[in-house]
Symmetry: C2
Amino acid sequence: MTLSMYSASVPVFSRMLKNLLAIFEKAEAYAAEQNIDLQSFVETRLAPDMIPLSGQVQIATDGAKGVSARLAGKPLPSWPDDEKTFAELKQRLQKAIDYLATFSPEDFAGSDDRTVTIKIGGQDTELTGETYLLNRGLPNFYFHVTTAYDILRHKGVPIGKKDYLG
Amino acid sequence: MTLSMYSASVPVFSRMLKNLLAIFEKAEAYAAEQNIDLQSFVETRLAPDMIPLSGQVQIATDGAKGVSARLAGKPLPSWPDDEKTFAELKQRLQKAIDYLATFSPEDFAGSDDRTVTIKIGGQDTELTGETYLLNRGLPNFYFHVTTAYDILRHKGVPIGKKDYLG
């Protein structure tokens, strides 16, 4: 196999979101066992002005959706960020996984050079598809998946790197 | 430009480590301003059995070094994990940035299909270069860079996503 814009994005997003969903299952089992209110996970932040777990999941899934749609030149679905419970966050992860499954490698032909316009610091900025994926899409996605993991780990959920890597 | 094994690895690692080094500079300035002992940053963990900031930097830089050397089929330099101070962690980041600059795109020709053998769960496992980069190298690297950021953010350092993304 040769590395491609598709192989470097859609299956990566899908794999990591499935791993995160499995981590959420472990968090749920742990909360039940320890009599912890799952809602406390949803609202936990690593710093008072950081985004809580709910926002981390919303932004990670938004990233996976947005990068895939923009690179494939497809319309960007709008998902309201209205998840308020742990169960809804799991549904959001599944929704993104299902959406990613609608893309095929052919959708990404030529996307290395496709111009993608995104806001950076409030300014419309044009990037090639490759720069967008490598310098914005992937680091941003990994940021929120890892921070979601870190929040749950910080709350005592017994997970390890193996769960994150799958 | 067409996405390549080189463009998806070396410049990405280099960029993110430079961003992390700039974040470390901000952390240093903040600590001086607030009279915080920098050593407290070095030893902070997000959970009692998680790796502290020092280990996050060691593993992130090890990952960048190891993935690049393995994909290029070059000997793997061994770096002792003996950094104990914030200044030494900054040196470790710079050392990795300098090492990454020794690679050229040509070193990575054909590395998509090169067999890479790594230990997974204690077992020698053979992966193609592409699978190694996408499913292990990049997610692992981003995990430790993000967790280093999260630790400093948790300690109150005034940084944001812009610092992480560069």
